[in-house]
């Protein structure tokens, strides 16, 4: 008996040691310092929080629902959500006992205030929501003009909750750079080009969280300087590191982690009738001609991954039996011949200076091998964005780089980038019936049916070769080995990280 007790105690202590702070609570404290290279402009006023701003906002502000990287929804500030009797609107139950950083309560009135910043405004989100009703202190109703399944995803990705008191008193402009949310850390200060500081929020609703006393983002644009700062111990990690730096630091015991948050593809002028790219077979030939796997492995050092369809393999909507177009130069030449370009053709290719030069040069070589001669033209960001969004800005017959965020919900991605209502890539020919198929999928209530319809959307985009998929990439992290449970890739929304469970070991 004594022996058994000793054994149990020993196992408990051993397990406790392994579990770290969750058992002992010994690893509270510490200020996490991370190096970022991207500038932040707006990260506190909910309708203006987007892409890069979201990375900063998510430390201090929270959305109603959490979505994990597999696209599964979890209660967060909302504890439950269900369709109302009209089968269009949603009843949202709110978590009790949640406070904003300024001490005010998070309740249905606060939820309504924040949702009213979106409803009926040109913010892009909640287009189907007509109004918000407060049913009681912790229940609200989102009234909708029609059922849309992506409303829940929007509650998980767009609806950051800010203190109504702060916005009313200080104004929207102030709020853009002063997030007052319900998150685990309170915003302290932001100095452009220098740093951003947060401190622990003691009244955070998750018991015992966060572990850290504070978080600091250091803004260092030059990658070599960032690496030196990490080596000198001035920071615990780099968020957007270079692949070669990651390889070097991995050998020195640093943790390396990466995600595939963004898809980089070729967008072509398929709309102009005279453009060679208007022929579907030419676009298909281009995909067959590029050895994406070799490019990603040799030049991207395996931190960039080749893609052949709209979603990542771990996504429930991924189509395993999709006839993908792997590297096959012979097939590419055959398709070009069938398309009436046996000798190939010449096309200008515009890409931004910040783009992956080596990768595009490799694409140029592979395409040249089948006869498609790309003339690479580096352009500045304003011109590049103009080509991406302004009809007619991409010269006829030309091609460029396309960016598509890898949201867990492919329908959200398709609506944002591929639908004809999207201002994205105006040079892309949208196949007939694509919008209708997308609408049907978004309006589908049955989950199994929804997946099936999503597959149809993906198949149509693939069959018609609306764009030429290339690779996915995301933030590449180099992290000090004593930092644990950083949550960068836990969520399905770009790369948000509230550091709720992050802790430092001695």
């Amino acid at each position: 008996m004594k022996k058994t007790i000793k054994m149990v105690v020993f196992i408990y202590l051993f397990a406790a040691l392994l579990c770290g702070p969750k058992v002992f609570g010994a690893e509270y404290g510490g200020h996490l310092k991370l190096i970022w290279s991207l500038p932040a402009v707006s990260f506190g006023y909910p309708p203006k929080i987007r892409s890069i701003g979201e990375m900063y906002a998510s430390v201090a502000m929270e959305t109603m629902i959490a979505v994990d990287k597999y696209g599964k929804f979890h209660p967060h500030l909302a504890t439950a959500w269900k369709l109302a009797e009209d089968e269009k609107s949603w009843i949202i139950s709110l978590r009790k006992g949640v406070k904003f950083h300024d001490g005010t309560d998070f309740d249905a009135e606060a939820f309504k205030f924040n949702m009213d910043l979106f409803v009926g405004k040109p913010t892009g989100a909640f287009k189907n929501i007509t109004s918000v009703d407060v049913l009681d202190k912790y229940t609200a109703r989102l009234n909708a003009s029609k059922y849309q399944s992506i409303t829940i995803f929007e509650l998980a990705s767009e609806a950051y909750m800010a203190s109504p008191k702060a916005i009313k008193e200080k104004g929207a402009k102030w709020a853009e750079t002063h997030p007052v949310g319900t998150g685990p850390f309170k915003f302290v200060s932001f100095q452009r080009g220098k740093n951003m500081l947060w401190t622990r929020f003691d009244q955070y609703w998750k018991q015992g969280r966060p572990y850290l006393d504070g978080v600091e983002y250091l803004f260092i644009k030059d990658k070599m300087t960032a690496l030196s700062a990490l080596k000198a111990g001035e920071a615990h990690g780099i968020i957007f590191a270079l692949p070669q730096h990651a390889k070097t630091m991995a050998k020195q015991g640093f943790k390396i982690d990466f995600d595939q948050a963004v898809g980089i593809h070729l967008m072509v002028d398929s709309k102009s009738p005279d453009s060679p790219w208007a022929n579907k077979k030419v676009r298909q030939a281009a995909e067959y001609a590029i050895d994406k796997e070799t490019i990603c492995s040799q030049l991207g050092l395996d931190y960039k991954l080749p893609v052949y369809q709209m979603v990542k393999p771990e996504n429930p909507a991924y189509i395993k039996d999709l006839p993908i177009r792997k590297y096959n130069p012979e097939k590419a030449k055959k398709l070009l011949k069938e398309a009436g370009y046996p000798g190939g053709f010449t096309s200008d290719f515009y890409y931004p200076g910040m783009g992956w030069r080596d990768g595009w040069q490799a694409v140029q070589s592979y395409l040249a091998a089948v006869g498609i001669k790309l003339k690479l033209i580096v352009i500045d960001r304003p011109r590049y964005f103009t080509m991406r969004f302004k009809p007619g800005a991409l010269p006829a017959g030309a091609a460029s780089q396309m960016v598509m965020f890898q949201a867990p919900d492919p329908l959200y991605m398709a609506t944002a980038s591929l639908a004809s209502t999207s201002p994205h890539v105006p040079s892309m020919k949208r196949p007939p019936g694509f919008d209708r198929l997308l609408d049907e999928a978004i309006g589908e209530r049955n989950p199994a049916q929804r997946i099936q319809k999503t597959h149809e959307v993906i198949r149509l985009a693939h069959d018609e070769q609306m764009y030429i998929p290339f690779f996915t990439e995301g933030p590449l992290l180099i992290m000090n080995p004593n930092i644990h449970d950083y949550e960068f890739f836990e969520y399905g929304r770009n790369y948000i990280c509230p550091f709720t469970n992050t802790y430092m070991s001695k």
Partner: protein, 319 residues
């Protein structure tokens, strides 16, 4: 002298005005639309309507003809307003006032260090011509002037920050906020920035001194029995300084214009970085504001250099 100063001030004003016209036109001739770039994130999600884009254009005055935009900008400048940044959510005056102290502090300390070291070294090399001192100084000056600043910065970080751990690798702390940390954060950028002007001024001082110490008036001074110190400092050096001052003026301009490399390597949010980021975003107001301030500083330095000729050589003053 007063008339000379007024004349030079008038010329400086014309130069600044020409610079404003040039920068105003050139940045607008670049292809691309800054407003479209600014709202690009919102465009992806369909969050921006054409009306919103038109409102933004109106807010920044970009909906008007170019000549009216220019006149409005000049009018704003006369009222101490350099406009509003499209991207940074703040006025250009605020952005520049945050960046200028860093650039001026590092630039002026770098030039001061260069002047304090280069003149004695140049004089010493000239006076001890042909000795090992002259060989060493000449060798270092000739090598130093060819070193790329960014490479030197990385090497200094490697040695003093990573190997020895004495100094921070990056960042800027104001000496008025934290004196110790401020001094530490200044050492590497200032040393790095001073190397090229230090070497250029050393070379110029040496050759200028060599020319002068062979002159008849120096021989006369020796024959009168004056001490070496007096001959060198009072007679030879002062007469050797005119070309040195010319090179100093040139170096000051290069230092101010070239600080972007130092600011990038040492992660200092100064004027150079502000200008480059503004240019990358085609943030018209930022680029125009920064170029205007740099133009004023550079023409100011030119003015001081011109005036110092008069002080150094009475013949120029009298003419």
């Amino acid at each position: 002298m007063g008339g000379y100063i007024i004349k030079r001030l008038g010329q400086a004003l014309i130069v600044v005005l020409l610079v404003t016209v040039l920068v105003f036109l050139l940045i607008r001739l670049l292809p691309g639309d800054p407003i479209l770039l600014y709202v690009s994130g919102d465009v992806v999600s369909g969050a921006v309507s054409d009306e919103v884009i038109a409102d933004l254009r109106r807010e920044h005055g970009l909906d008007r003809p170019m000549y009216i935009q220019y006149v409005n900008w000049l009018w704003q400048i006369l009222h101490g307003d350099l406009g509003k940044s499209i991207f940074l959510n703040d006025t250009v005056v605020n952005e520049i006032s945050r960046a200028v102290p860093k650039t001026v502090m590092i630039g002026s300390l770098g030039l001061l260090l260069a002047v304090c070291l280069s003149i004695p070294l140049g004089v010493l090399a000239a006076v001890r011509r042909g000795t090992w001192i002259d060989t060493l100084v000449t060798l270092l000056a000739n090598s130093g002037i060819t070193i790329p600043v960014f490479w030197l910065g990385i090497m200094l970080i490697q040695i003093f920050s990573l190997q020895l751990g004495w100094l921070p690798t990056q960042g800027y702390t104001s000496v008025f906020d934290d004196f110790g940390a401020g001094v530490k954060s200044l050492i590497l950028p200032v040393v790095c920035l001073s190397v090229v002007p230090l070497c250029a001024l050393t070379r110029q001082t040496r050759s200028s001194m060599l020319e002068n110490i062979r002159m008849d008036y120096i021989r006369t001074a020796w024959s009168k029995g004056l001490s070496e110190g007096l001959i060198i400092m009072r007679h030879a050096l002062k007469n050797s300084l005119i070309p040195v001052v010319t090179v100093f003026g040139l170096m000051a301009r290069i230092t101010i214009g070239g600080q972007i490399l130092i600011e990038t390597v040492f992660n200092i949010p100064g004027m150079g970085r502000l200008a480059v980021e503004g240019l990358q975003n085609q943030d018209y107001a930022i680029v125009q504001g920064v170029v205007l301030v740099i133009a004023i500083i550079v023409t100011g330095i030119n003015l001081i250099v011109d005036l110092s000729y008069g002080w150094l050589d009475p013949r120029i003053r009298n003419n």
